[in-house]
């Protein structure tokens, strides 16, 4: 199956804004992320949040063909 990727903030600067990957059926977000880390080992230390189709998900979320998966750092915070 094929999924679309989006990256934001500091991650976008490293990975580009968009991408695409082909995955085995049943793959989770965590599996996808690990495959990206395998390509770019420096990502291993990055604090990361996941969203699928514009909704926050855990790494264990199972992907479906055509999903849009977004990767981004924690939100800015501030007081």
């Amino acid at each position: 199956m094929r999924v679309r990727l989006r990256f934001f903030a500091a991650l976008r600067e490293q990975m580009g804004a968009r991408g695409e990957r082909t995955l085995k059926p049943g793959a989770t977000v965590e599996i996808l992320w690990r495959s990206l880390v395998a390509e770019r080992p420096e990502l291993a230390a990055v604090p990361i949040r996941f969203a699928v189709n514009e909704t926050y998900v855990e790494g264990s979320h199972r992907l479906a063909d055509g999903d849009e998966v977004a990767f981004f750092p924690p939100v800015s915070g501030g007081r």
Binding site: F8, A10, E13, A45, E54, P73, G77
Partner: protein, 162 residues
Amino acid sequence: MFRVTRRPIVVATLLRAVRDPAAGAVVTFLGTTRNENAGRRVVRLEYEAFHRMAEREMKALAATAARRWALRKVAMVHRIGVVPVGEASVAIAASAAHRAEAFTACHWLIDRLKEIVPIWKREHFRGGQVWIGAQQGTPDTRGRAASGRTATRGRRRRPVDR
């Protein structure tokens, strides 16, 4: 009214959106660019959003707030792009019959917005710039984290300086 916009925030527009004949109180929060942060002289902030998801999350927060407190209406606007010192990057207005609910809900909404609405800021200060909020450091700045934040100083050609 839940909006991510590149234009300056007009508070009157939010006030109009939450106006309600049954409201006795309207509390408004504006987050503005401060000229100083963590000892750095801030020149401007720059915001980036996951636009549609951010608007969805703002709507969802307002719906949660409306279940928790007796509110009349809520409006939330976040500006993206460059926001100079003194200008507002985010505005929240909440109307309610009574003020306690309006204050509590408005405060809760901005706290939650800053935790979960996918919008990030890059601080441009004298001598560099830094993504705010990536508390563990991004690869390019690891080891130079200061007070829980990461900084890239100077004009070196590093990814975060682009």
